[in-house]
């Protein structure tokens, strides 16, 4: 049962398949676009961290510059 945990996860995924082991992941929410992404060590995906928002970013190019989610949603 693969499971990768965070101290304070923003979300949680569980996939149950009758012919495969149950898969569980914690997720983080990008503080800029609001997307949730699973924490998969070794996936090779580069993520980021915004010191202004004090939160993780998803790694997308558009989220590299600080644009807080609440401000973005209000536009």
């Amino acid at each position: 049962m693969p499971r990768h945990t965070l101290l304070r996860p923003h979300g949680y995924i569980i996939i149950t398949d009758p012919e495969a082991p149950t898969i569980e992941y914690d997720t983080h929410q990008c503080c800029h676009c609001g997307a949730h992404f699973a924490i998969i060590p070794g996936s090779g995906r580069l993520r980021g961290y915004c010191l202004h928002c004090d939160g993780p970013t998803c790694g997308a190019e558009a989220c590299g510059k600080c644009d807080p989610l609440k401000r973005r949603l209000g536009r």
């Binding site: 979300g11 398949d17 676009c33 609001g34 997307a35 209000g74």
Partner: protein, 148 residues
Amino acid sequence: MRQYAVIGSNASGSSSKTLLGLTGASTIQPGIFDLTVGCSATPADQAVKFGVLRSTTAGTSTAYTPLPLLPADVAAQTVAGNAHSVEPTYTAGGTLLSISMNQRATYRWVCADGKELFGAATASNGLGLQLISATAAMVLDGVVHFRE
């Protein structure tokens, strides 16, 4: 915040078929905090990818009245629909959650308080749960719980 449930299935297809959509307004923002997707059809060994995306228009769908999780709550201001015949217009780069799995599997995602998937606070904007692609035409069944 009041909480509601919406269920929906997509029209049969193998790509770009929305199971259900939520449309807010400038005064209301639906925020999804719980999501379950599965398939009630005869089990088959097919791959499927689906996701939650931000939308700017609602498309054409069968209207669905969101069910309050607390029965005493008032009706939702968010407008919901399922089995879309015309797809909503989705925002480029607005995929908030994306997952691939076998059709036999069941998927559930739930988030912590304050970490919901929100649509923009603009008229006609909202969120859609879409079958993005699959290796065969299929009908998925989805349930979302949202706050507003």
